[in-house]
Symmetry: C2
Subunit: 276 residues, 2 copies
């Protein structure tokens, strides 16, 4: 039944996780939004046998749908790459296409190793990432003031403005230690940030959100509550923005932004260019 | 000073977050690991003015380093794309390279819209993702048995085997509700899983880890403790693996795997192909 709702199938194939092929293919296919394309990732194709399995799946989809599938490949192994080209589909070779001009430009051969971007080889990076996740979890929602001097970023904003997902994303993807503190009615009454934050003011970044959207989000959690009411959301957002403006805190509105866009903006604001 | 340690610079440029360009470029450049390449992402290039700023930065790096930078571009806007080509670097046009054959294959024009893969347009996906993050946070480390029937996956394993980062990654990247439960000495003595899990056995997936690596990781947190000692780690790992074997639980070793590799394997084991 489900197959009927798709016009075509795209496969993301790789010797590694296939995340690179999927991220990239997903972006490119989003440019063709009039066509409904099923997207399937086939990771860890590290033998001719697994390649044969993948070829069978691809050909089967092509036959069933009457249109040949699109294949985004980041296969690095030359033998498996060559073998996969037997599949009956449009083969888009992400790696080889750009490895050739890069070999020329860099005047060196590529090493044809697999999955370098997502393996554990860089233990230091890996440890930093895990440490950042643990830090961000421990410092979620103002749980503790301990070790706040170790934070790279401290997010503030009203409840459900996007602080927790953003903190975790920054930790997970960039190894950034991100604490977050809710701004609550007590803060508004005093017209002050939580006192402990004043010592770390240069690390603070604010998130705000349109009151209407906030009300929607809060209603999912506590339907019909005062907490979720449009009036209360308007009050909190208003007060939080006034407070941040008075304190000279940089902020952005998360209303129409994805976690990736929020995180990228924060990295840019703090001039952080490192990645994992 | 720092510049001296790099042979060359690569830029990831985009009208959107640049995450696609960075993920992809990072993978390709990993194929050239004899050359030390500084990697800089310049996101949100959505005007000719911002393109000019980017061109200046790129040319400046080229002059300073005596080697022209490499530019991975996912610019979608044709005017800005054309303008950026004035930069003095090797311009690798990720989108256009594959959009052309896709337009032919799909017999349709691409829509040249920006950042479709990371914008909030799909509110349903976004909500699912946030809900999954909240679920995984609430169900981290066996904190609650409530709503366990709503979990997509339940990870089990000894403390520090990788359950928390994997649960959060699955939630963040795939909108998968992942609970996790630690396996502790009390479980080993009874030779039973935590009782509440038996009703959800088909959702359980185990993580294990080499005792030596586990001891290293635990020593970072509690140096010299019994908890971190090689003997205790050997004991716990051994018991956990025996228990999982007896209960017929699927598991993998996280010792040499990244969070991405662990998560991809779990998706594969559960036959989950959806992505956000």
């Amino acid at each position: 039944m489900e197959r009927k709702t798709f016009d075509r199938t795209a496969f993301f194939i790789s010797d590694g996780t296939g995340i690179t092929a999927e991220t990239f293919g997903h972006s490119v296919l989003a440019q063709f939004d009039t066509i409904k394309i099923r997207q399937i990732r086939i990771p860890f194709i590290d033998s001719i046998e697994k390649a044969d399995d993948a070829i069978r799946r691809i050909n089967d989809h092509g036959l069933t749908e009457g249109k040949r599938p699109i294949i985004f490949s980041t296969l690095v192994n030359p033998e498996i790459n060559l073998h996969m080209r037997q599949a009956n589909g449009l083969f888009l070779d992400l790696f080889q296409t750009f490895v050739d001009p890069l070999e020329q430009e860099l005047e060196t051969q590529s090493n044809h190793s697999i999955g370098r971007s997502h393996n554990i080889s860089d233990v230091e990076n890996y440890n930093r990432r895990i440490e950042a996740i643990n830090f961000s979890l421990a410092h979620d929602d103002g749980q503790t003031d301990k070790d706040l001097q170790r934070a790279d970023v401290i997010l503030v904003g009203v409840s459900r403005s996007g602080k927790t997902p953003t903190s975790l994303y920054l930790a997970m993807q960039y190894g950034i230690k991100a604490a977050n503190y809710p701004l609550i009615p007590e803060d508004f009454e005093r017209s002050r940030l939580p006192e402990v934050l004043y010592a770390h003011k240069e690390k603070i970044f604010g998130l705000t959100i349109a009151a209407g959207r906030l009300s929607e989000i809060r209603n999912e959690r506590r339907p019909g509550s005062k907490y979720a009411s449009p009036e209360n959301c308007r009050y909190e957002v208003n007060e939080a923005e006034t407070l941040m403006r008075c304190e000279g805190i940089r902020w952005l509105s998360t209303t129409t932004k994805s976690i990736e866009e929020i995180s990228t903006t924060i990295l840019q604001e703090f001039g952080i260019e490192r990645s994992l």
